[in-house]
Symmetry: C2
């Protein structure tokens, strides 16, 4: 098996290196051919590494970066005034060919801006998109864009559909069913961008475009790739996370309300924790930036160690499948 080298922005996310360093080390144990470069303030990182036992330092190096992009910093500021941030240095490693991918839990807007600036987009792609897999009744659905682009033209939506389809194929799906998210399934439904994107997709060869899909059908698993603008995708993803959290809290409170319920609760607890695991955002936590000349995976800012490991796993698969190269090959056939 060939070696994968992944650059980790070790300073990002709500929990920072205390969470990211142990999560990274756990991934080394999981993938024997994985090498990681932890990027950030070297003294902090070395101290956290020293706390872990049995670390294979031949597969774990540290690259010093003095600055940190704050979670609420403006992307333009991160781009202009922090040339030595951990995020920037990690992306530079990818551009220089010293790493195959970058994983960060940092500021999403800054990561997108820096990724575009450092790695550039693939030919024919105007804007990269963020994609993740969300659970459905039949498995998973790849949803994009998740918030990188709040205003999208029909051409952008078309490009997202192409990229989402190719990415889903790379992750193992054959002829993924691609749908446009809309407020109805009839032709007359939707806004101008969505209607125009539909007519572009109907003409595309080599895409399994199945038409419009509504929010409920998405969770019934009626498509493998669902395309929307970043405003809608972000609202859908975050409201779903909030709804799952609310339901989990209600189930727990039902089960602790009275003695009979507590008994049921004790018996049901293992089942419920399995369910929560299936639906937890962290399980499906790695979101990929598609359309760049390089692999960048964004971990949720509030992800714990589990979530960050999922993001690294996603990067490992994309490196193995050489996703940007595959995208590049297919885009030439499919783009207008």
């Amino acid at each position: 098996m060939s070696v994968s080298v992944i650059a980790i922005d070790a300073m990002g996310g709500d929990f920072g290196p205390r969470c990211i360093v142990p999560a990274s080390i756990a991934c080394l144990a999981e993938f024997p051919s994985l090498h990681l470069v932890l990027v950030g303030q070297a003294p902090v990182l070395e101290e956290l590494i020293a706390r872990e036992s049995g670390v294979d330092r031949r597969r774990l190096s540290v690259e010093h970066a003095a600055e940190v992009v704050a979670m609420d910093e403006r992307p333009s500021q991160a781009l202009r005034s922090k040339p030595d941030s951990s995020m920037r240095v990690a992306l530079d490693l990818v551009r220089a060919g010293r790493a195959h991918a970058c994983v960060s839990a940092g500021n999403t807007g800054a990561l997108m801006a820096l990724s575009r600036y450092v790695l550039k987009t693939l030919p024919g792609i105007d804007r990269p998109a963020m994609v993740t897999a969300i659970p459905t009744a039949r498995g998973h659905c790849h949803l994009l864009d998740l918030g990188a682009n709040v205003d999208c033209s029909a051409e952008h939506l078309y490009q997202f559909a192409v990229m989402g389809s190719v990415a889903a194929e790379a992750l193992g799906l054959r002829s993924p069913r691609v749908a446009l998210l809309n407020v109805g399934t009839e032709d007359i439904k939707g806004n101008q961008q969505v209607k125009l994107a539909a007519s572009l997709l109907q003409q595309a060869n080599g895409l399994n475009y199945i038409g419009y899909i509504e929010g409920d059908a998405l969770y019934r698993g009626e498509a493998d790739v669902v395309v929307c603008d970043g405003f809608v995708g972000n609202i859908l993803l975050k409201s779903s996370e909030g709804l799952v959290a609310m339901i989990a809290a209600r189930i727990e409170s039902l089960f602790t309300e009275n003695l009979g319920s507590r008994l049921v609760g004790a018996l049901a607890l293992p089942l419920l924790s399995r369910l929560k695991g299936d639906l937890a955002p962290s399980r499906h936590n790695g979101a990929s930036f598609l359309g760049l000349q390089g692999i960048v995976v964004k971990s949720h800012g509030s992800a714990g160690a589990d979530g960050f490991q999922s993001a690294i796993r996603r990067a490992v698969i994309e490196v193995r499948e050489n996703l940007p190269q595959r995208l590049h090959g297919r885009l030439e056939d499919l783009l207008l």
Copy 2:
């Protein structure tokens, strides 16, 4: 208690009069001062009424309408070519002052188009909006628009905020917290319409505007009224319905997987059915059209009798609170 007369479009919805007639009769028992006018094909309706026992016909009349608006009919067609549809005749009863409100489970687009044409909007309101209450961790949140307006300007979003706030007050909330749905809470986040609507809302007196809200915070109950365009609201509502259905199915299958689980399932079943009831779309099923010179409540097309009763209940409250009059009074102060 004063009498409320509600015109029921008895032919709409996926299940039609077989579902709507018994649901309407059940509501008569619940509200002693309620009168209902069932609008639709009289022979069909009379036959269904005759099957029910103990019906107080002094409070239940039938108004014949020969035509039915199909669920997939274009709104423009329903408007132009069906002057004698049950939906149209029910709305005409409201305009003529023979009913205080109209409830329909029919074609949403057609109901909106006919409502605007027959009842007209309130002064200062460009477009009516659809609002419903969705469950949150702390109670409920009034979400609008739900799909009546897929493209919205900042001024439309502002009007929705005003109408949503007044409606929430009418339903019993004091100084409801009003928020704009967005992809982040920082000032720089969002599309142009949302940013401009925020600046309009910041200047509004007499509104408890609390700023941007994200999808997860909505379900945490951090606002009482959440405003978005109809595209986003529709996707949020339908995806939430789909997610709840998926979770309920997973819980059920967890509990039937093996003998131990079946035992837990048998014990847990009453708890789970309570939970599903709390989260069922039908419980929060009535969606109001706000901004019209009259009361129109839309029941979900796929709602059963329970859902339709919820919609009638909502109409009863709006009649009691004289919602259009309250809106009219407040809009004069709040509109730009």
